[in-house]
């Protein structure tokens, strides 16, 4: 798991690469929390995330709470069908701005 961060105007974009499981979710969370503490609008580009377990859901929950506590927003981009299924079954999907492309994700935060 690897995270690359870039800036587009007032939006921070964090591109995650790899699998988010019980081992990597806490590492990803530790890297992403400071971004959410510094920026109100964050796009998580998940188009290169091939796997997300409940540990990843827990990470998304923590990030979501951090963002909403600051009236910020987290947009998710490029979710695989399988990850969408997991998020839908567990009632997570509806709480995030979800887009297929980075441009659409940026627009959803505008």
């Amino acid at each position: 798991m690897n995270i690359t961060v870039s800036q587009r105007g007032e939006v921070s974009i964090a591109a995650i690469l790899g699998e988010i499981d019980g081992k990597t979710a806490p590492l990803a969370q530790a890297q992403l929390m400071p971004i959410l503490e510094a920026t109100n609008k964050v796009v998580l580009d998940m188009s290169s995330v091939s796997y997300l377990s409940s540990a990843g859901l827990r990470m998304l929950l923590v990030l979501y709470r951090q963002a909403t506590a600051r009236s910020g927003k987290v947009a998710l981009v490029g979710l695989s069908e399988e990850i969408k299924d997991t998020m839908s079954m567990t009632g997570f999907l509806g709480f995030f701005e979800v887009s297929d492309t980075l441009d659409a994700g940026l627009l959803s935060l505008a």
Binding site: E19, D21, Y51, S53, S54, E81, E82, T86, T90
Partner: protein
């Protein structure tokens, strides 16, 4: 049957994931079924290495003409996941601000596969996950 014995740490999850993915490919599961099998096994394995208090975890696979079965074996205290309370529909619909995050892993493990079985055999826990293969296309 193929099998693998691993130290029961979070580092084992990557090897377990790889093992299940290879089993799913050799067993001919479609992408969705392969993913849900890996998710179920990974969730249970995460639980075992995090809370089981065991030194090792064994993963084994069997492929037949009809299905693909993955078994996790550990010698921790008896733990039957089927006796855990799964999150209710109301809990899964609650706003994320109010969520109690517990139980989602077991929920995904038990509901994602076609069949889940647990057995306590002597001093071991056996978690058995089965996916049925999609029926072959009829001859044309």
């Amino acid at each position: 049957m193929s099998a693998l014995t691993l130290p029961a740490t979070l580092d084992a999850l990557e090897d377990i994931g790889q093992f299940v993915k290879e089993t799913a490919v050799s067993g001919g599961l479609d992408t969705g079924a392969a993913y849900r099998l890996r998710l179920a096994v990974d969730e249970m394995a995460t639980n075992i290495v995090s809370y089981g208090g065991v030194a090792e975890i064994v993963i084994a696979a069997t492929v037949t003409a009809r299905d693909v079965t993955v078994t996790l074996v550990d010698n921790g205290v008896a733990f039957d996941p089927r006796r855990q309370a799964l999150p209710s529909e109301a809990a899964l619909a609650a706003p994320l601000e109010e969520r109690d995050i517990g139980g989602l892993g077991i929920f995904l493990a038990l509901t994602g596969v076609d069949r889940y079985d647990y057995a306590r055999e002597g001093e071991t826990n056996r978690n058995v996950f089965t996916m049925r293969k999609a029926p072959a296309a009829p001859p044309t």
